[in-house]
Structure formats: structure tokens, C-alpha cells
């Protein structure tokens, strides 16, 4: 009767085959998948005057501000004690010019959800929280006089827009 000699490689192979990984079980706890986004609390650096003006200008005109215009604007804003007043007037001045690229009021009313998200992304570079979304949706829906210009002014003059 022939005798078998167990070789070490055979034993290792056998062990490897019998101790294979078990199939991973997917366990769900009824929580939906969510995307993790930038948090507003992480904006801690204040934009300097030049950054604020050039970012705002680019945001509204979709083109860069000229150095000369930037210099003039910086000086004028610096000459006013209340920076909110200065920024609001600058913005209002921009809104009174042609060449500004903003959605029409009808577009905002047609899909308020999309408008809110795009506005948050445009100004704050983040998605709105559920609370913010709900507030703006309710406010815009209930106040027919609210225009894109008003919403944009509120965002551009807000404190978060001063930070990055």
C-alpha cells in the first residue's frame, strides 16, 4: 500500500483554503447616506479689503476687477467708519450698473430650492443647512416683494461673506 507523506506546502495550502475570509455583511441602521460638506464654523480668516472687493466684483460681474478700480474702491471703503454702510453702498452701486450677472426674479421663483442652494454656493461656497434652507424657502415664498437683488445684498453684506 502506498504511503502518503504530507509535505509542508500541502498543509499550508490546506490551511489557507479552509481559513478564507467570511463574506462581509452589510449592516444598515436605517440611516441615509449623506455627503459631508464644508462647515461655516471653519471660516475663521477675515477677507482683507482687496480680497472682499475683488471677490464680490468677480462674483457679480463674472470678470476680474481692474487694479485701478480696485485701488479706488479700497480707498473709498477705508474712508468710511461703518464698513457695513460702505459695503452696502458699494453693492447697491454695482446693482445699478449694467453687466452684472444675476438670475432673474422669475428664475428664483420658479425653483426656490435650487436658487437657495446656488446662492449659498455662490456666496458662501457651501451648501445651506436644513434650517437655512427652510428659512429662505419660507421667506421668499411668503414675501412676493423679495427679489434676487435683495437676497444677494443680504448675502454679500452678511458677516459670513467677510470670512473664508
Amino acid at each position: 500500500m502506498p504511503s502518503f507523506k504530507l509535505r509542508p506546502w500541502f498543509i499550508y495550502g490546506l490551511l489557507l483554503c479552509t481559513s478564507a475570509c467570511t463574506k462581509e455583511r452589510i449592516i444598515g441602521y436605517e440611516v441615509d447616506q449623506v455627503n459631508v460638506l464644508e462647515d461655516k464654523s471653519r471660516k475663521t480668516k477675515k477677507k482683507n479689503d482687496a480680497e472682499f472687493i475683488s471677490i464680490l466684483y468677480t462674483n457679480l460681474y463674472q470678470t476680474a476687477i481692474s487694479p485701478n478700480q480696485l485701488y479706488k474702491t479700497q480707498n473709498v471703503l477705508y474712508s468710511i467708519g461703518d464698513q457695513d454702510v460702505a459695503n452696502e453702498m458699494l453693492l447697491s452701486n454695482y446693482f445699478n450698473t449694467s453687466g452684472i450677472t444675476i438670475p432673474k426674479d422669475a428664475v428664483m421663483r420658479m425653483d426656490i430650492d435650487a436658487f437657495i442652494i446656488s446662492t449659498f454656493k455662490r456666496f458662501y461656497l457651501r451648501y445651506p443647512s436644513e434650517g437655512e434652507k427652510a428659512f429662505f424657502k419660507q421667506y421668499i415664498t411668503n414675501n412676493k416683494a423679495v427679489t434676487v437683488e435683495m437676497v444677494y445684498t443680504a448675502f454679500a453684506c452678511s458677516e459670513e461673506y467677510q470670512y473664508y
Partner: protein, 446 residues
């Protein structure tokens, strides 16, 4: 809740409700401890470095250039004394006559010296411009004060807003430009005060310049109905961002005050366009333009406290003739501002105290720079540069001259306690421990 508890809690709530509106930002229940001497103060920071010799001492060219017989007063609206009658170069220029040979006619029927309180020999605490301006507004010598940073100690605007409960548009600083850190003077960066108590500010010659008009002049005039939703949405966004106190970077005006300021800016551009701005008869300097805008702010806001700075006399570093001309014009525009308040702002007329003081003096000895008349120029760094004067006039201010060349009385740090004294908050300012320990209200110096 039982009946007794209910009544007790309701009583506390009612009492709190009645008292809360009167609690000041400083935490005190009642506004002032001292008596209020006037409802308005206007401080003219007669800056740029003014030598005693050519100003209050009326020496004209006699001391500075060694021209015998050329003494005389070239500041007739502020001081008493006859004008010089030799080598007249401080006036305006008329075709066919030598440069500066036409003095500007005196505006006030009676000089400020004759109507008010003069401290002819005070002491500045620094021979520098920015520190001097700081001293005038903070009452602190500010020896460690750096350039390009806000005052280290609270300004009078902050004291008034915190302790007297003034609103932001009650306090104004009108700077004559954006150079030399001037726009930082409306508030300190002190942890207990700071921008949330700061005064409003315009560096007026820049705000209302052609660039200003280009950047701001075309702003829309929003109605209250337009503004309400904007502020409502903005306030919602700000609430959720919630800046900490040290992150606040602007003066705290209410929404109504902001609207008033915006309307004011637009109205000034409109007046400019229509040529309707009230201005001094001679308006050929940046200082005059600044005073003109200060007058507009006074007319619109009737502030409790307004400080305006001028600095044209600093040309003395290299042009003595220009310095004399600027000094003469600074006198003219200061006189005009007082006259304008009396004649055109009834709410302030008879109810304003007007204070004028330089931020520093100038040297005893000249530098070697000669001007077109071969007159030497003066810097500001020696003991003579610490010699200054102070003038006060207006409601119930006595007509006295306190001290003299041989008997100095008063320090520039006295200006802040004096203003605090006018508004009845002298104790608060003294108790803050943040002003010069040697400073006194000028009323106490008399």
C-alpha cells in the same frame, strides 16, 4: 405655581421690563453723575504741528526768520492782536500782487480768545502727529502708540457711547484723509471698549472725492420697504454666523442709522453736483474741504460730539511760507465752522462747546531748508514742539486767560476729561484708570 409665587415672579418681570431699557451699555442704570454743561461738543484738532511763536504769541517772522518789526497776529479769528504790517505773505494771491499778500478778512466779529477760555501755554505729551492726535482723543499720553494700529486706549467716542449711552451717530470723527492712520482714530482696540462703542467716521476728502462718487454715488436709494427684507435676511445670516467681540470690525450703527448715513452720503453728492455745499469763503486747501464736510455732518446729524482734524500746517517741514498761509487759512476755516454752527444749525447754536487745540508744536530751531522767500523751515522734535495752546468757547464757557508763557497750565490729555466733564461722565472716565493720571478737566484748571 401658587398665587404668591406667581405675584412675586410677575413683579420681578414687570420691574425688569420697566428698568431694562434704561440700563446703559456700561451696565449702569442712570446715565450721568455730573451735570451736563452743553448738549454738543465740537473739537477742532488743529493739527500738523503749530509753533507757539507764529500762533498764539503772534510773532510772525520776527522770531522764526529774524525779521525785525515783523511781529503780528495772523490768526485773527482765534486770537487777539494786530496783524503784521511787514512782508505779508500769509494771505491769498491776487493777480498783479506778490504771492500771499492779501490777508483773508476776519470772519468773527470777536475773536475766540475774547469770547472764551484760552490756555495760551499748555503741554503736549508728544512731538509726533499720530500720538498727538491719539492724545487729543484718548486723554492718554500714548507713548507706546504705534502707527497703523487703532489707539491702544479708549477714545472719547467710546467713553461717551459706553457711559453716557450715546448712539453711534451721536459721535463723529471727520478725518482729513486716509494717510497716517487717520481713519483708525474713531475707536480704540481696547478690550473693554473698542469698535462696538466707536464713533462714526468719514475721511471726508476721500469719501466725497471723484473716486467716492464713482464708487458710491450711483448707489440706489432703497425705500424702507426694500430695506426691511434685506436687513431681515442679513440679520438671520449673521445670527447663525455669530461673530465674537474681537472679530467685530465695524462701528455698530442700527439699521435706521445706517440708512441715514447712506442717505446722507448720497445727499452730499447731490449737493456737490448742484453746487449747494456750504463752504468757507476761501476754500483752497484740503483742510477747508474737510471742514466743509464736517459742517455737513453737523447739519445732518447734530451729533453730541464731533471731532475734525486738519493738518495743512505740516508743510512747515520744508516751506515756511506755505506754513504761514496754511496757519492763516486754518484760522479762517475754524472761525467759519463756529460761525456756521451759530448761523445755520439752530439745534446746536447756543448749545455747543467748541474746543480747538493743536496735537503738537514745532521746533525752536530751524532745519536748513529754504523756501521761495529764503525762509527757513521747522520740524517738530525738541522741547518747543511740546508747547501748545488750547481754546474753548460756547455755552457758559467763561472768558478767561489761564496761564502764560512763563506759567504753563494744562496738558493735551486734558481735552478728553474736559469733554467728559461737559457731558457729565468725568467720574466714569477718571475711574476707568485709562487716561493720563495728571489730566484734569480744563474747568478744573481755571
Amino acid at each position: 405655581m401658587n398665587r404668591k409665587n406667581f405675584i412675586t415672579k410677575s413683579g420681578i418681570a414687570l420691574g425688569g421690563g420697566l428698568l431694562a431699557p434704561y440700563i446703559l451699555p456700561s451696565g449702569r442704570l442712570f446715565a450721568k453723575t455730573g451735570s451736563v454743561k452743553a448738549d454738543h461738543v465740537v473739537l477742532v484738532m488743529f493739527a500738523g504741528g503749530v509753533r507757539q511763536q507764529e500762533s498764539v504769541l503772534g510773532r510772525y517772522l520776527e522770531d522764526s526768520q529774524g525779521v525785525t518789526g515783523a511781529a503780528g497776529n495772523i490768526m485773527p479769528n482765534l486770537f487777539e492782536g494786530n496783524a503784521p504790517n511787514k512782508k505779508i505773505a500769509y494771505g491769498t494771491s491776487v493777480a498783479g500782487k506778490p504771492n500771499g499778500s492779501e490777508p483773508i478778512p476776519k470772519l468773527l466779529t470777536q475773536s475766540m480768545e475774547k469770547s472764551g477760555l484760552l490756555f495760551p501755554e499748555m503741554r503736549a505729551q508728544s512731538a509726533g502727529h499720530y500720538v498727538g492726535l491719539n492724545t487729543l482723543l484718548t486723554g492718554n499720553p500714548g507713548t507706546n502708540q504705534g502707527l497703523k494700529v487703532r489707539p491702544a486706549y479708549p477714545t472719547i467716542f467710546e467713553y461717551l457711547r459706553k457711559h453716557a449711552g450715546f448712539k453711534a451717530t451721536d459721535t463723529w470723527f471727520i478725518g482729513n484723509g486716509i494717510g497716517n492712520s487717520t481713519p483708525l482714530l474713531n475707536s480704540s482696540n481696547h478690550k473693554d471698549y473698542g469698535l462696538s462703542y466707536g464713533g462714526n467716521m468719514f475721511a471726508a476728502p476721500v469719501t466725497f472725492s471723484s473716486a467716492g462718487k464713482e464708487v458710491l454715488g450711483n448707489a440706489k436709494t432703497y425705500t424702507r420697504t426694500d430695506l426691511e427684507p434685506m436687513y431681515f435676511m442679513k440679520n438671520f445670516l449673521d445670527q447663525s454666523f455669530a461673530l465674537t467681540k474681537d472679530q467685530i470690525s465695524s462701528v455698530s450703527n442700527t439699521d435706521e442709522e445706517k440708512t441715514q448715513i447712506k442717505d446722507f452720503i448720497k445727499s452730499v453728492f447731490a449737493k456737490q453736483q448742484a453746487g449747494q455745499l456750504a463752504m468757507p469763503p476761501v476754500t483752497d486747501t484740503g483742510d477747508a474741504v474737510n471742514i466743509m464736510y464736517a459742517a455737513e455732518v453737523l447739519r445732518e446729524f447734530k451729533p453730541k460730539m464731533l471731532a475734525v482734524n486738519i493738518s495743512g500746517v505740516d508743510s512747515c517741514h520744508s516751506n515756511f511760507t506755505g506754513y504761514l498761509q496754511m496757519l492763516h487759512r486754518a484760522d479762517h476755516i475754524t472761525g467759519w465752522l463756529w460761525q456756521h454752527i451759530q448761523n445755520n444749525i439752530p439745534e446746536m447754536s447756543g448749545n455747543t462747546i467748541f474746543i480747538v487745540a493743536p496735537e503738537c508744536g514745532r521746533n525752536e530751531n530751524p532745519n536748513p531748508i529754504l523756501d521761495q522767500n529764503d525762509w527757513v523751515a521747522y520740524d517738530h522734535s525738541d522741547a518747543n514742539a511740546l508747547r501748545v495752546w488750547g481754546l474753548m468757547m460756547g455755552k457758559s464757557v467763561p472768558n478767561i486767560r489761564v496761564g502764560g508763557e512763563a506759567q504753563p497750565v494744562g496738558r493735551l490729555t486734558d481735552i478728553v476729561p474736559t469733554i467728559a466733564d461737559v457731558f457729565g461722565i468725568l467720574d466714569d472716565v477718571n475711574n476707568s484708570g485709562l487716561i493720563d493720571p495728571l489730566a484734569r478737566s480744563l474747568y478744573q484748571r481755571i
